[in-house]
Structures are given as C-alpha cells and as structure tokens.
Symmetry: C2
Subunit: 80 residues, 2 copies
C-alpha cells in the first residue's frame, strides 16, 4: 500500500479570509513575527497498489475532479 499526499491551496491571487483572521488573532495571543498565514486542505490517499506513474496520474485526475476547485485552487501531488 502506497500513500500519496494531495496538498490543495488557494491560488496566490485569491483572498484568504481564514488565513487573515488567524494572522489578526496572533498578536492578541502573544505571538509575534508572523507576516501571513494561508489555509488549505491536505488529503492522504492510500492506494491498493504501488505509487507508479499510472497511479499518480489517476490521483491527479481525482484531485482535479473532486479534491480541488481548480478555478480558485492549485494542488500538488507527492508520494509520502
């Protein structure tokens, strides 16, 4: 069983209100020195077989179809 990670983040040009809310809260909690926070999604995909090129290509298709909204999000696929 191979495990593949799909990281989904908002495209840089897209506003990230959740990340901004976190950054605004940090000084009130005594945390300094954080310029920005971006929030996204992380998927761990467990495959029946090996993480060969065909399997990775399928995970990319799954990410495009189901895990990411490719209009506003970018995703990266990597073997864990």
């Amino acid at each position: 069983m191979a495990r593949v990670v799909v990281d989904v983040m908002l495209k840089p040009e897209i506003l990230d209100p959740q990340g901004q809310a976190i950054v605004r809260k940090l000084p009130q909690l005594g945390f300094e020195g954080v310029a920005a926070v971006r929030q996204g999604k992380r998927f761990e995909v467990e495959l029946d077989g090996p993480a060969d090129e065909a399997a990775l290509e399928q995970v990319r298709k799954i990410a495009e179809t189901l895990l990411a909204n490719t209009v506003i999000e970018d995703f990266e696929v990597r073997v864990l």
Copy 2:
C-alpha cells in the same frame, strides 16, 4: 522571509466521514484502486525572520493554540 508548513490531520483512531465520502464516490467517477482517503488542513505560515528553532517553537505553539484541535488532531511542522 521563511515559510513554514503546518499539516493538521485527524488522529488515526478518529472517524473521517469526509474522507469516507470521497472514497465511496470514486468508483462512480471511474476511479479504482484507492483504499482510503483522509482529509486534513494545511497551513503555510510566512515568518518575518528566519525559521530558526525559536521561530519553529512558536509555530508549534500557534498550531497547538489555534490551528489544531489537539484532542482529535495531530499536527506536523516543517520548513518549506
């Protein structure tokens, strides 16, 4: 400016209904060979200064306080 990633995932023993919903949907979309999917959160934290040990320790504290619910979630911090 250094960038640190905080990956937050449900603890293994915690049920992941979102991940299960994705796995159930995959065969209907023509995708085979996926045993399980776990969904979590990914944060990119941009620091004003370098990602030295003090900065990483602070990011761990931020993760414990604000980014993860440590009762049901584990998190990992790594420099990007």
